[in-house]
């Protein structure tokens, strides 16, 4: 299981074109590597959204508190050359500009994935240094991404009717408070994925 950088760029370009179509706010940015001066593409989305904290009751029944706090979110989807897979970095601030704590970010995980994350939170989402900007971002651990892609039956040799990057992103989106519009799932793909 591995995705090449070129595949990633193709999938990201397709995601971006549908995002433009429904005005979803994703942009395709470029970062120039200071070493070899190559340009590296990645997806970015910034948005303010109201979010709920979810907590598990002691009897493990689902519960969530409707508190609708506005949160400023910034998501970066990068290609990770070590793991040959997509990699998500994100930051969340309250509207006064203060960065949310890691504990707060954990609490925003959707309740149906909550228990899994609680059990192993230090291997799920932690704060790490962004590889392009050298500043702190939250990050979903990349080995989870390879795992998700495997479960989705991704292999670089398969042909796809769907965009694997979108399938992956919509799978992990409840972990990071990201909403993926349903139309990404049934759009007419203009690109042939190979």
């Amino acid at each position: 299981m591995s995705m090449t950088y070129q595949q990633f760029v193709d999938y990201a370009t397709d995601l971006k074109s549908h995002s433009d179509f429904i005005d979803d706010g994703w942009s395709l940015c470029q970062y120039q590597c200071p070493m070899n001066e190559n340009y590296i593409k990645y997806l970015v989305k910034k948005k303010i959204q109201k979010m709920n904290k979810y907590s598990l009751k002691s009897d493990h029944s689902d519960s969530h508190t409707e508190n609708n706090i506005p949160v400023v979110c910034e998501y970066h989807i990068l290609y990770n050359p070590s793991y040959s897979c997509p990699d998500v970095f994100f930051n969340m601030w309250s509207t006064d500009g203060k960065l949310l704590s890691l504990e707060h970010v954990w609490s925003l995980v959707h309740y149906f994935l909550k228990e899994n994350v609680e059990r192993d939170k230090w291997n799920a989402i932690t704060q790490e240094i962004h590889p392009f900007f050298s500043t702190p971002f939250f990050r979903l651990h990349p080995c989870k991404n390879t795992h998700v892609l495997e479960m989705l039956g991704f292999s670089s040799k398969n042909n796809y009717e769907f965009n694997p990057l979108i399938a992956w992103l919509s799978t992990i989106s409840p972990l990071i408070g990201l909403e993926i519009h349903l139309s990404y799932g049934n759009k007419d793909s203009k690109v042939e994925f190979t």
Binding site: C33, P34, M35, N36, P81, S82, Y83, L99, S101, L102, E103, W122, N123, T126, Q127, E128, I129, P131, S134, T135, P136, H141, P142, C143
Partner: protein, 266 residues
């Protein structure tokens, strides 16, 4: 794999004398705290060795700020604790002929630079950071086939070996991660590159073998990645490394404990 154990011991035992001082602006009350001196392992991480430093200074800051997270600064640069101590020292002093030992570090409790350095609320954040670097390194070296088949207690040996400064405990497991998978090479070499004076890290896929099929040397690697740098000097562990050194050998013997080579290019 890692056969020159003398070098492994030598690097493991590398230590730096540090003099910690509380930032003048943060001193609360009339009594100035004494500076705090400590010998710290180059291979370790600041949050793992600074409990005593915190205890020494915390009573000298405003009681309202005593619960805040301690952070460290050198010459107005907040120190990224997720880098090994030796890397931080080399990054900011190797250019500077005036850098005297002990290393003078300023301690802060207030105004945490959250846009520059990671929060470190507890030891788990260091452990998680360290173990995920090891996992990534093994992904590069063996497509993760060694690390992911290790048992939990073996992972714990690695972490507690670092934590308690126990060479044998750490290397009893780490030697498995340093075994070349096919023939005498890793698939890729885990390397973090830095330019002296800046904590910006860059990473690229590094192959242990050059185009002509011979082992890649450090000089070739740097020429490939920094074509515009004339006559580069490359440091790690405070040592200037000869250009003809094979990077496969360096990876096995001169990696930091996270299994990455941390190379500083001048």
């Amino acid at each position: 794999m890692a056969n020159d154990t003398e070098i492994l011991h030598y690097l493991w035992n590398g230590k730096l004398p540090v003099c910690f001082q509380l930032d003048e602006q943060e001193i609360h009350g009339i009594q100035n705290p004494e500076p705090f001196y400590l010998m710290v392992p180059r291979m370790s991480y600041f949050p793992l060795v600074c409990d005593k430093v915190k205890k020494h200074f915390v009573k000298h800051v405003d009681p309202e700020k005593q619960e805040m997270e301690m952070w460290l600064e050198f010459k107005n640069i907040p120190l990224k604790w997720n880098n090994p101590i030796g890397v931080l020292y080399d990054l900011f002093t190797i250019d500077d002929k005036q850098a005297d030992l002990p290393w003078q570090i300023t301690v802060h409790f207030d105004n945490f630079p959250e846009d520059q350095i990671l929060r470190c609320s507890c030891r788990e954040s260091v452990e998680s950071n360290f173990m995920s670097a090891m996992k990534e390194a093994d992904m590069l070296k063996h497509r993760s086939q060694v690390f992911s088949t290790m048992q939990r207690h073996q992972h714990n040996q690695l972490w507690t070996g670092l934590l308690n400064d126990k060479f044998d405990q750490f290397w009893s497991e780490n030697k498995k991660l340093m075994e070349p998978s096919d023939g005498s090479y890793f698939k890729h070499i885990p390397v973090h590159f830095y330019r002296s004076g800046s904590s910006v890290m860059t990473q690229t896929l590094v192959k242990p073998v050059s185009e002509d099929g011979n082992h890649m040397t450090l000089g070739e690697l740097i020429k490939l990645n920094y074509p515009s740098v004339d006559n580069p000097k490359i440091f790690t562990h405070g040592i200037c490394i000869p250009h003809e050194t094979p990077i496969q050998w360096m990876s096995e013997h001169m990696s930091y404990l996270d299994n990455f080579l941390h190379l500083i290019v001048i």
